[in-house]
């Protein structure tokens, strides 16, 4: 069991290690035991000049996948790189492109092999979600996570990993 500060640092390092997360500027807002909140900021590269109501073709999916995956970091004592097994998203309303997209994800069950997560996406009001998602992740079998990468995410100093 770790504290909020520890999870925040671990999740931020994990996000920053992923080129596609840097490309989209997806940031961690909050991390707690089992739970995270991420944001996708408004950005010119995602704004369509011709479609004003339906912009996030697919990008919402990327955000949800990212948040679900990051939430697993807050449910495990030690960092494990868990591949996604299944992802399911229900879209209830279209996002507007003038506001950032937020996602709150929770890893609500951890078993020996599988992690279960749920997430909701919103813009102005968490009580009016745009989408719900559930996902499952596989835990790697003993030692499958690259040890240097693990050390980096865990925040072991460079001197120790070198």
């Amino acid at each position: 069991m770790h504290d909020t500060e520890y999870y925040t640092a671990r999740c931020s390092r994990f996000l920053n290690a992923q080129p596609h997360m840097r490309k989209l500027g997806i940031r961690l807002i909050k991390a707690d035991r089992n739970k995270v909140t991420l944001v996708l900021p408004v950005q010119p590269q995602l704004i369509s000049e011709v479609l004003d109501t339906y912009l996030h073709g697919g990008v919402l999916t990327t955000l949800v996948d990212a948040a679900s995956s990051v939430s697993t970091l807050c449910a495990l004592d030690q960092f494990e790189l868990c591949p996604t097994l299944d992802l399911r998203i229900d879209h209830m309303r279209s996002p507007v492109q003038s506001q950032p997209l937020y996602v709150a994800a929770e890893c609500y069950r951890v078993t020996r092999s599988v992690l279960f997560t749920r997430a909701s996406v919103y813009q102005d009001d968490p009580a009016r979600p745009l989408a719900y998602a559930i996902a499952t992740f596989m835990r790697p079998e003993g030692g499958a996570t690259d040890s240097a990468f693990r050390a980096m995410i865990e925040g072991v100093s460079d001197a120790e990993t070198a």
């Binding site: 992923q18 596609h20 697919g58 999916t61 790189l81 992802l87």
Partner: protein, 158 residues
């Protein structure tokens, strides 16, 4: 004023689907391409350093694969069914089967049922062999059957 329908017609006529793909900003960010072989349309996601999620393998971000497949279904619907506007996604369900390595990825969409309001799609994504898919997906889309909010794609011409 040029409408989506005309853009689709134009794409079919000249075989250049890129203007249609570029309608969605995120498709452009990912680098989605579209190639037509007779009746079959294959979507291609070229290897791109910005699409990496797992730097250790390295592997494409899972969300990128999912979004690419969702966009594949959206474009297939747009190209196959004449509609005045883009279809809206209702739900999306994805099985990841293998890691998507840092190389070109392909996807194909089959529309298994087309109703008056809803289209049922299944999408397959692979890298070197179609018989070894990296992911499969199912999606439902709400079709646009001509409500007043038609999309004006005129600015694309400027």
């Amino acid at each position: 004023m040029q409408k989506l329908l005309e853009l689709v017609k134009q794409a079919h006529a000249c075989g250049d689907y890129q203007p249609l793909v570029d309608l969605i900003p995120y498709a452009r960010v990912l680098g989605v391409q579209c190639e037509c072989y007779g009746e079959e349309i294959i979507f291609r996601l070229p290897a791109n350093a910005d699409n990496i999620g797992n730097p250790t393998i390295p592997a494409i971000h899972g969300g990128v694969i999912a979004s690419f497949m969702e966009l594949t279904a959206l474009f297939q619907l747009t190209l196959q069914l004449p509609q005045p506007g883009l279809a809206k996604i209702i739900d999306f369900s994805l099985d990841y089967m293998r890691a998507g390595l840092d190389r070109d990825t392909f996807a194909i969409c089959h529309i298994s049922r087309q109703g008056r309001r809803v289209g049922n799609c299944s999408v397959l994504a692979w890298q070197e062999r179609k018989s070894r898919p990296i992911a499969q997906a199912r999606a439902h889309f709400l079709l646009d059957n001509g409500n007043p909010a038609e999309i004006d794609i005129n600015p694309l011409k400027s």
